[in-house]
């Protein structure tokens, strides 16, 4: 399938740019991020990058010519013999010619009013007239409108740094992290609240549990995560997300839990967590954590979190403001600076969904281990 590569906008004021470099030829195979040419205005030069891998099917832009922003510079195809759509592919970028004679007095006044130069506007006759300017303006409006319809806004594309380097594809996990961070930034109205608490009751509770069950690893974090699951099950408002400006009340409680595996950070998910007792929950989480460490997670173990828990206590941080996973309303972060005698529970939350007061209540409940009757062996 052929894909157009459009002439980018260099700045907000210039709807026409000059093609100053065409670095590829038809039939070439280009990689995403590869420089295929460059355009300039009198203010700046901008390199044009391929937005995808592909074969150069047809080059419409011509060196030294002016081209309208948003017009097709060239076509890329997944296969070398992809056909360029004839209804649009053959249409060259609108190219401006230069006025050949002096502007009329009326045209000069209009140019001054608009802050334009006569050289930018083609004249129908020997001299540039007000009619030529109005026709050119109308064409520009159509061109801009078309650009907005068919091309991604060039201003949103980031320029390559002016330092030697190369583009590399993100791994699926890195792409997932980017998606998460962008969801937090663009979709949620994230707030953050934290409380300090005395960690000793939880530590004592975890030790009793570990001794009773002959556990190899401290169950402190899994037990705290399970407590959050219990709170979410009894307080459904925190097990929600805002989706399309409406509250989406989740049925199951799917607990997201971060696992650092080498350089990789996974948000693993225990699905249906509220249907498990503490023992089964800890076993399930341990099993998922182990496979995360071995990079052998199933897709459904990395998606579908409805609420989340994370800890950076091992890194001895004092504060950790977590990123909300997509379509969750609450993630709780645990920190426990060594030697401080205190621990911190922080929460990032979607303020469209939850008030600070509600979040504080969750954190205060979570700061206390459950009563012995909550189904654990300890």
């Amino acid at each position: 399938m052929p894909h157009p590569l459009h002439v980018p906008r260099v700045n907000n004021n210039d709807d026409q740019v000059t093609i100053v470099e065409v670095a590829v030829k038809e039939g070439d195979f280009v990689k995403r991020g590869q420089i295929v040419g460059a355009v300039e205005t009198d203010k700046a030069v901008l390199e044009v990058e391929a937005e995808r891998d592909g074969y150069v099917l047809k080059i419409l832009g011509r060196l030294k010519e002016q081209a309208a922003v948003g017009s097709v510079l060239l076509w890329l195809g997944e296969k070398a013999d992809d056909k360029v759509p004839t209804e649009v592919g053959g249409a060259r970028a609108p190219v401006a010619s230069q006025a050949r004679g002096r502007p009329t007095a009326g045209a000069r006044a209009r140019l001054k009013e608009l802050g334009l130069r006569a050289e930018e506007i083609p004249a129908a006759g020997e001299r540039l007239t007000e009619k030529d300017i109005e026709a050119w303006l109308a064409n520009q409006e159509r061109s801009v409108a078309k650009t907005q319809d068919v091309a991604p806004p060039a201003e949103q594309r980031e320029r390559a740094p002016d330092v030697a380097g190369e583009f590399q594809d993100l791994s699926p996990e890195e792409h997932g992290m980017m998606t998460t961070v962008l969801w937090h930034r663009d979709q949620a109205a994230a707030g953050y609240i934290e409380i300090e608490y005395d960690p000793r009751p939880w530590e004592d509770h975890a030790k009793r549990y570990a001794d009773a069950n002959r556990l190899l690893m401290s169950p402190l974090m899994p037990l705290m995560a399970f407590r959050l699951v219990e709170i979410a099950a009894s307080t459904p408002r925190i097990n929600c997300a805002i989706v399309d400006k409406r509250r989406y009340q989740y049925g199951p409680v799917n607990l997201g839990f971060t696992v650092q595996a080498g350089q990789m950070l996974y948000l693993t998910v225990v699905r249906g967590a509220s249907q498990l007792d503490a023992t089964r929950f800890i076993e399930t989480m341990g099993d998922i954590q182990r496979r995360a460490m071995a990079h052998k997670l199933a897709p459904n173990e990395m998606s579908g979190a409805t609420i989340a828990f994370t800890s950076m206590a091992r890194w001895n941080v004092s504060r950790h403001v977590p990123i909300l996973p997509p379509q969750t309303g609450l993630i709780v972060a645990h920190s426990a600076p060594r030697g401080s005698g205190k621990a911190v529970l922080g929460a990032s939350y979607d303020h469209r969904l939850l008030s600070g007061f509600e979040v504080v209540q969750v954190l205060q409940a979570l700061a206390q281990p459950p009563k012995p009757s909550s189904g654990e062996k300890a």
Partner: protein, 94 residues
């Protein structure tokens, strides 16, 4: 892979020391019978990393209920558990 008792202990000890190093701890004095979680050299995540390394190095997939202090709590326990499991597997295929 040769399953020599002493070689297994050396390898497990080296891995414990390596993981402890990553946390800024020196575990070079750890004893073969020391209970690893109780030494404080490794936190829960590092112990999990040790278990994953153990499974992969010795091709010994573990059930979650086998990951306990009795089977894997010390260098000696990990060594004996490995030898016992491998011997049982050999007996089954013989």
């Amino acid at each position: 892979m040769t399953l020599d008792r002493d070689a297994i202990k050396v390898a497990i000890r080296a891995q414990v020391i390596k993981l402890a190093n990553a946390l800024g701890m020196d575990a070079s004095e750890i004893g073969d019978d020391d209970i690893i979680p109780a030494t404080g050299f490794l936190d829960s995540t590092a112990i999990l990393e040790l278990v994953v390394w153990y499974e992969q190095t010795y091709e010994l997939p573990l059930r979650q209920d086998e990951i306990n202090i009795d089977n894997l709590g010390s260098i000696n326990a990990m060594t004996e558990f490995l030898l016992a499991r491998k011997a049982a597997a050999t007996a089954r295929t013989a």
